[in-house]
Structures are given as structure tokens and as C-alpha cells.
Homo-oligomer: 362 residues x 2
Amino acid sequence: MAAWPDRRILEMTSASVPIIQAPMAGSGGVDLAIGAIRGGGVGSLPCALVAPDAIAGQVEAVRAAVDGPVNLNFFCHTLPDAVDDSAWVAALAPYYAELGVGRPAVPPPVRAPFDAVRCAVVEAVRPEIVSFHFGLPDPALLARVKATGARVWSSATTVAEARWLAERGVDAVIAQGFEAGGHSGRFLPVPVGTEMGLFALLPQIVDGVDVPVIAAGGIADARGVVAALALGASAVQVGTAYLLTPESSANVTHRKLLQGPEAEVTRFTNLFTGRLARGLPNRLMEELGPVSDTAPAFPYASNALASLRTEAEKQGSSAFTSMWSGQGAPLAKPMSAEELTRSLAVGALAIMAGMHRETIDA
Amino acid sequence: MAAWPDRRILEMTSASVPIIQAPMAGSGGVDLAIGAIRGGGVGSLPCALVAPDAIAGQVEAVRAAVDGPVNLNFFCHTLPDAVDDSAWVAALAPYYAELGVGRPAVPPPVRAPFDAVRCAVVEAVRPEIVSFHFGLPDPALLARVKATGARVWSSATTVAEARWLAERGVDAVIAQGFEAGGHSGRFLPVPVGTEMGLFALLPQIVDGVDVPVIAAGGIADARGVVAALALGASAVQVGTAYLLTPESSANVTHRKLLQGPEAEVTRFTNLFTGRLARGLPNRLMEELGPVSDTAPAFPYASNALASLRTEAEKQGSSAFTSMWSGQGAPLAKPMSAEELTRSLAVGALAIMAGMHRETIDA
């Protein structure tokens, strides 16, 4: 049987294939994680939008269905003390009028940062992996997570971020190319316009840190898996392709656009949360511009949008809905999460075998 | 002996390794092309800044030194009729005062588009390959080039551009990821902020056209060669790594910065020519901002800068000099052009062999 060239993440996680199903807050959950684990990969549960007391139940549901590595993913932002979103509400006023709604009376739950309550959940459920986005929690919380035996991963969008994470003891770095859908994990400020593509970022992070590196961004088929391994990755994290599986909660419009010509163009936008995330363009992005200073700080931009989103979705419109997508969407094909995980792995092994044909050159 | 997985570009060019030395106007030339061909790759002569009557001599010099595939590269922009660069000159006025120079009395030669005179040179010297940047010349000129037997290549930065080129009969498409140094080949307008990384762009172009695809952007070591082949490329085009060879005409400062921490951050700028190109930040980019509406249309931004550049370089400063670099610069190591070409190929074959180890999984 053919071996994977780098077994470090396989040994760290007990996964049988080097495929991490990306945590996708709002689109992933129990069913998706079960499918990925059944396919031999790592199943991830996004926790940023889940109430702390619901996380344990999700982990139990996964474990009742399948044995394998579970990754709990948390965001590490700092919630701003007070947010004035009056300019944002003013910018949205024409839409409130058009749809006949006001700004939400009771704001919906916002993306919550990792904290002591969530840390206690990790201590109780003891997931195999805890991954973070936007850096790492404070050292005391990080020490508690590590004391559970969980392996700690976090995302880097630059070599400097990868070094920062490695110095603080992560067990693996996720090299997130700017091709990735959803939120950029960027947490050390750099000028706009210096985003790095995975092709250049990945080998530089591999060279820059001693821990294994997981490649993310633009990987949606078996070719991408092999390319990432060639550039030095020990495993890959795949997001957008899993949106097309029946186990994701992506809505019908989102799925349709991901499989159409619209998916050839994706953009970073801060309109939906206040922080840059890559997605398919929609009416809000086109009319306000995809990046606006008017949107309040992360994660509060979502508050004033919630009533517009709900009302528009009732009418079958995605005009106010974030539809995250990486640049690899046109490479993805719909199938079950288990089949996707398995086919990425089987396909990658076949490509690697085919790339090394011993022949006599004439 | 191990074979390359895809031999289409090798058969098209008679190169023995799938490495194209990128044409780099201002930094490449006869010596660099000779070295690349001696290493088994394709040697490219950038012609945009070369007087038409000097091109034949360059080709003769290459052919006198080595047998192998020669690529003549031309730009396909349209020269604007009249350019008012008064705003640009005004923006540069403080620098003229500081350096004690005026705007150039006689502007230097600008990057010239492919035209009938240059086409006649192609007909006379009959290079194996003619590659274009910024699209293709008009159909009559393109037909004359093809009638010489030269294979025609051009760069695509989107799948739409690749299809456009394939429909017009190119023999290969160069998939140029946004990681690439120097001028983006973009020629069909798309919104800023929709640039594609090579990791996602390359397989989508491979899927979108029937001709072989050459990968460019961020490839500076053997890992990148393998990754590009895995994503479906038939060959790779490497630029920045060749800047470090003794055969390039990159200056001392440029070489030093390419090998230092500065090369971790590159940016697109339009200040030096009027069109977006990726390079190392310098004083002009920092003080005016890397992208400015004040810079006149391509290629005329370079005119008013010429005297500043000359005077600053006399003082050992690169404050007004474009220093192109791709995002892969930190991956490159200085060596001769022949050795670089050979080591990219030998290293890639070794990686491919290593990725396919038949073992018994315990």
C-alpha cells in the first residue's frame, strides 16, 4: 500500500488520511464532522457561533456515531468594549425601508471569543484537537487547553504569524493562503495589499517553523492535495468543497452559485462581520463596496444586518447573506462528506503514483 | 531514468526539462538565456525595452553559444496617443528639488508594443517560441508570427483570459498567479481585489483550455515545480530566482534585498510604469502609496522618473528604482542560471520519486 510522504499529522491525530475538514461557523456541524471522520480525516466542529452549553452535546453526537479525531475550533478575537454602529445603521437605512424591517430589536448571538467558560467545555469533552483562528487565547487559557492533552493548531497568513504561533507552542501551523474562503485568520497587522498566495506562503512557513504545517486555501480536489504535500505540507484543510456536501448547512442559493460561473470571482469583504472574509459577491457587497469603513468592528457588523438577512432569505434572496467561498470553488464537486474525504485521499495517492513513472527516455 | 509526467511542452520546444526562464525586461538578456538553455530549459529574451534592430544580434549571440529553444517575449499594449503627465511631474517635484535634477529633457525609450517592425525581426530570426504579455497582437501580426513556425504563448491571470487566448490559437497558456513578480499580464478588465492565487488559478485554467499550461508566480524552488506539475501544469516559468544568478543584470541592492527579510513582503505598484507590477517596496512606493491615480498610463510613468532614478542610483539608492520580485523570493538561492535550471529539474524529479514510496502500512 502506498504511504503518505509525511506522517506527522496522521500520527498526531490518528487520522488515516491527511485531510482536515475545515471548521466553518454557520455551515459546518455534527453531520459534516461525522462524514469527514468516516472518510478517514479529521472532523471539525466550529464553535464560534455555538452556545458553550451546546458544544458538549455536539461532541457526544459525533462520538456516538464514529470513532476518530475531533477538532473544536474557536475564534480568539477580543470583543470591543462599546461599539457605535450608528454609521452602519445609517448606511443600511435604505434597505430597512425597502424590506420593511427595522434594525433587530434583539441582536442575534455574535461570534464569541474563546474564554474560561469554553475552556471548561474543552476540559470536560477532551477533543483530540483544539484549533484557533485570529491567533491564540491568553497564555493561562492556552496552558489549560494543552493540559487536557489536546493538540493545538492555529492559522497563519504570513511567515511572521507562523513564527509567532510556533514560539507560543502550537503543535501545528495552518498556512492559510489568501485563496481561502471565510475569515482570513490574520492577527498581526500588515498593510492591505500584502496578502500571500498559498503557493509562496506554504513553503516559506514550512521552512520557517519546526512544527508540521497544514495547508489551507484553494484546495478543493486531489491535485491540490498533492501540490500542498509537494510544497511541504503534512496535511491539508479543505473548506469550500465540503460546503457542497449534503452534510453542510449551506443554503440552496449558496450551493447553486458555488457550482456556477459566479464562483470564478470571489472577494474579501468586511461587511458581514467587520473583519475580512472571502466570499461570493452579492448585492450588499456590490452596492456598498466589499470593504467599508462604515462596518463596525468584528464581530458586530452582523448585528444590524440580521433582520435584513432574515427577511431577504424569506423572499429567496441572498442580497444580505454572507456566502463564503474560497478561490477553489470551481474545482469542487458535490458528493457526501465521507466520499469527498476519501476521494481527495485516493485521488492524491493515484496522482503521486502517476507522477513517478520509471521509463527509458529516448 | 525518471520521466516527466507531462511531455507536451518538452515536445513543443525540444527543451529537456520543463523549466522556462522568464523574460524579465530590464534584468534578463543574452547571458541569462544561454544559461537557462545550457541547463536544459527554455531561454527567454525580453524584447520590450530592446531596440528592434538589436534583437537579431541577441538571438545570434545566444545561438552562437548554445543550441536550444529561444523565446522572444513582447508586450502587446496599445500606446496611448497623448499622455498628460503634468500631475505626475507635480507629484515628483519635491524629489526633483531634493536631488537637484529636472524631469528628463529627452525621455528614455519606453516599453514598446509588438508591431510590424518587430514582427519582421521575428520573421528574420525565427525563434522557437514567441511569447506575449498583455494579450495578443492584432490578428494579422499574430498570423505572421505563426507562419514562421514559432509557437505562440501568452499569459492569463484569470480563467476568462485563458479561454480568450485559447480561442485565438495560442499553443500554450502561461497561468500567471498574482504571486508573480513584475508586470501582471492582466488584459481583460476585472475589479481590483479579484486577483487569483496560482494554487486556485492553475488547475482551473488547466480544466478550462485544451492547450498545455505553463505555471508562473511564486515558483522559486524544486518544491514549487512539483506542486505546479501536480496541479496540471506542463511546465513552469521561473523569474525571481533567476534574478539572483550572476547572468541577470539585477543591481547589487536589488539582489541584497531579495535575499533579506525585506523580500517577505512584496506589493503591486503602478508607479514605475503606469501598470500594476509586483516588487519590493521602496521609498517612492512608501511615500506616494504603491498605487496612485497620478501615475500616467502605461508605459509613460517611467519617463518622468528616469532622471530621479539615474541620480539616486549614482548615490547608491534604490528610492526611485523598480525592484521587481515575486512572493517566492525567500525560496530562491543564488547560483548560476545553468545550475538553477538543472537543480530545479533534478530536485523536482527527486521529490516526485520520494512522494511515491511503496511501503507496507502497519
